[in-house]
């Protein structure tokens, strides 16, 4: 394969690392705020809502980019089962990038809570008020958050296996760095 195909495009890498940071912050802010009752709660909630919507917008950009720019293929030496696991986990991660913010938006709509972003900017409700539905969506928001973090840990573990043990260029294709190995 050509040298150009070995790495993700610069845009793909920027989107990946930017969103990785944002999603990790989001998950920690989320788990922190739902267990907090101090002043911290206010600031975490005020951060959680706009950051979630920003992730949703970036997820649209990222999915479009992914469909337009095919990622470099996994090395042929990778066992089939691991190839399948990689594909499935990536689909789950992409799905959660959309599901989590949409669930958050939907549950706040059903509660009904105003969906403040910043300043006077508020999002419209996407569901009619329904407390029982709110409770179900709220529970799902937690369940999917835990799943999200678990899949991220699996993704991280796999990335480190590629980087430190297999050393097959998969990690470098996203991490950047020199194109050719230093001898």
């Amino acid at each position: 394969m050509s040298k150009q195909d070995e790495r993700f495009t610069a845009l793909s890498r920027v989107l990946h690392w930017l969103m990785a940071a944002m999603i990790l912050i989001m998950l920690f802010v989320g788990v922190g705020m739902v267990s907090s009752t101090t002043e911290r709660y206010r600031y975490l909630v005020a951060l959680h809502r706009p950051l979630g919507i920003l992730i949703l917008i970036l997820a649209v950009v990222r999915l479009t980019n992914r469909l337009l720019n095919a990622p470099p293929p996994l090395p042929a030496s990778l066992p089939k089962l691991q190839q399948i696991a990689a594909t499935v986990s990536h689909i789950v991660l992409y799905a959660l990038m959309f599901i989590m913010p949409l669930l958050g938006w939907a549950m706040l709509s059903a509660a009904p809570y105003p969906i403040d972003l910043f300043g006077t900017l508020r999002l419209p409700a996407i569901l009619s008020p329904d407390a029982a539905l709110y409770a179900q969506l709220r529970a799902l928001h937690t369940d999917f958050a835990l799943l999200f973090y678990a899949v991220i840990l699996v993704h991280l573990g796999a990335a480190l296996l590629h980087a430190w043990i297999r050393r097959d260029g998969v990690f470098r294709s996203m991490a950047g760095g020199p194109r050719s190995p230093t001898p």
Binding site: F28, S35, T37, E39, R40, A111, A132, R138, L156, L160
Partner: protein
């Protein structure tokens, strides 16, 4: 050819060391998440621990609010006075007649407790201006809040819970709490000295927490607000309700609403330098400027079974642009604890028995 394939194979110990390093990183990441969620900190006052404290205090009542459990929905409207507009740019003070969904309730987590004159009464209001930002507020008929911190809120709840062994409040625990919270001792004196009115209608309800109003020029002032009864104050007369029905306060309110609407003046008290916005146990001086921001009219009552207040969390932090929270730590405590209570009771909706106060369906008439 992938670049890595040209590298020397790793020795078995090197593979093991690297695997262990990966394992350590993943475990640390998982542990950090669990820590941030409060699961490793038994002393952290999490939302769930507040819920546990409410359950220990009042027992479990699925489907009901964890506090102010016994209540009645009401509807009405708000007519702003011209004096409010220069203080706040919030739409409710600049519009004609804003609809209200409100709730009268008794403090405490027991939805079927008998009405008692001395129980703290509350009025919660949700102002719903059409096409503009809503405002929610929960007010109580006491002059100051009994605690001024998240920690005080939690510890007071725990200290006043019945001892599981005896079923009675643990006096030692309360004594110990009060010794550590002189602000509560002072606040309780003010609360005990208040004049108790005959019912919900002639009562005055206070925001207790401070907020900021911001006008269209961006000028902010600290305020506390009150809903002051237009109905003349009648002092509670223990003889008048001796042997009364267990819902006598709510029944009186229902009876009055059957014949006429009830009104409250929404009054802003403007804080000055030195008035604490942070400490809700401290009263502001009597001579502070008061501005009548408008009239709240309550026209009809609806049971929680059919009412629009039931599924509303009267979160004091749901504020329109033009009203902002102060640095009072109780605001975050109330907001977060109410949110958890709302989530739990919403999930328990199918298990909720009918509320204690259920006026006949005929009361749920159409709009005025």
């Amino acid at each position: 050819m992938q670049p890595g394939d040209t590298q020397r194979p790793l020795s078995l110990p090197a593979v093991l060391v690297r695997l262990m390093a990966i394992g350590v990183i993943l475990c640390a990441a998982a542990a950090l998440f669990v820590y941030v969620g409060g699961w490793l900190s038994p002393d952290r006052r999490t939302q769930d621990r507040f819920m546990t404290a409410f359950d220990a205090h009042d027992g479990k009542h699925p489907g009901f609010r964890r506090n102010h459990a016994k209540g009645l929905c009401v509807t009405g409207w708000f007519d702003a006075a011209a004096e409010a507009a220069p203080l706040s740019r919030a739409a409710i003070f600049h519009l004609q007649r804003v609809p209200i969904v409100g709730r009268f309730a008794l403090a405490g987590g027991m939805p079927f407790a008998a009405d008692q004159a001395g129980t703290v009464r509350s009025m919660a209001l949700r102002f719903l201006p059409i096409g503009a930002q809503e405002w929610r507020t929960g007010m109580n008929d006491i002059p100051v809040f009994p605690v001024n911190s998240n920690e005080g809120f939690y510890e007071q709840l725990r200290a006043s819970a019945p001892d599981p062994a005896t079923g009675k409040p643990d006096l030692e625990a309360m004594k110990d709490f009060l010794a550590r919270h002189p602000e509560t001792v002072r606040a309780m004196q003010l609360i005990k000295a208040r004049s108790i009115s005959s019912g919900f209608a002639d009562d005055t309800y206070n925001s207790l927490d401070a907020f900021y109003l911001t006008n269209s020029s961006g000028v902010s002032v600290p305020v506390r607000w009150s809903a002051v009864a237009v109905q003349p104050f009648v002092a509670d007369d223990a003889g008048a309700h001796a042997g009364a029905e267990k819902n006598y306060l709510f029944d009186d309110l229902l009876k009055q609403l059957e014949s006429h609407a009830l009104k409250w003046r929404l009054v802003f008290t403007i804080g000055e330098a030195g008035d604490s916005t942070q400490d809700a146990t401290l009263a502001w001086p009597e001579e502070r400027r008061r501005v009548v921001a408008g009239i709240v009219t309550i026209a009809r009552a609806v049971s929680e079974e059919n009412g629009a207040c039931t599924d509303i969390n009267y979160d004091p932090m749901v504020l329109p642009d033009g009203i902002a929270p102060s640095d009072d730590p109780l605001l975050a405590a109330r907001s977060s604890v109410y949110a958890r209570s709302f989530t739990l009771r919403s999930a328990e909706k199918s298990k909720k028995p009918a509320s204690a106060v259920s006026p006949p369906v005929g009361m749920d008439g159409s709009a005025p």
